[in-house]
Symmetry: C2
Subunit: 122 residues, 2 copies
């Protein structure tokens, strides 16, 4: 079996509720579910009232992370999934919707053993 994974880096702008750890957690859980991935562990950290939140979902298929800067309405996320059967577009739409992003940029990278890294930007 050749391993093939896809790594999405997503920068999200114009977001809301980025200091709300419950909202970030819900978005993370919903994104995992939308991807069709298997959650192993979830960990979140709030940097304080009105401050950013960091959340990481450890998956059987790798990981999804969200890091937020409420003072800039900006969040940086990544979705790294191994295997071909996951719905990256659904995960991306759920992530952006959950954070109320008005705009996002994604960079999509194929990676793994025997895979020449290929980057697409949108």
């Amino acid at each position: 079996m050749d391993f093939t994974g896809t790594h999405l880096l997503i920068d999200l702008f114009g977001c809301t509720g980025l200091d709300d750890i419950d909202r970030v957690e819900a978005t993370l859980r919903d994104t995992v579910a939308a991807a069709g991935a298997t959650l192993l562990a979830l960990r979140l950290h709030s940097f304080g009232v009105g401050q950013g939140v960091t959340g990481v979902a450890m998956l059987a298929e790798s990981h999804i992370s969200i890091h937020t800067w409420p003072e800039r309405d900006y969040a940086a996320a990544d979705i790294f999934l191994c295997g071909r059967s996951h719905d990256l577009d659904a995960a991306l739409a759920t992530l952006a919707g959950g954070l109320g992003a008005t705009r996002y940029e994604q960079q999509r990278l194929s990676r793994g053993y025997g895979v020449e890294p290929v980057l697409t930007r949108a």
Copy 2:
């Protein structure tokens, strides 16, 4: 303050000990220390004897992850650090050394609010 972060995606080949959760944990801890980053939480998961390991370090500066495929001597890692004062090269050398990689490929991406994503590949 403009946020500026650097996201490194690293594919490591010819590695050893990739089914050893203690070794992956030590490598993750050493990589965090080499970067000069602040560890908030560490979580590791073994997929079984002789199988891969997934580890994620949640940092005050974002995260570092390692995912291993011992059957291919291959590991996929990423190092995402916010701020300008961290030693990414030291972190990368520690990561590669800890996993015994004979070769690695890195892709380095500047990202954040007000930053036009720039990718360099090495």
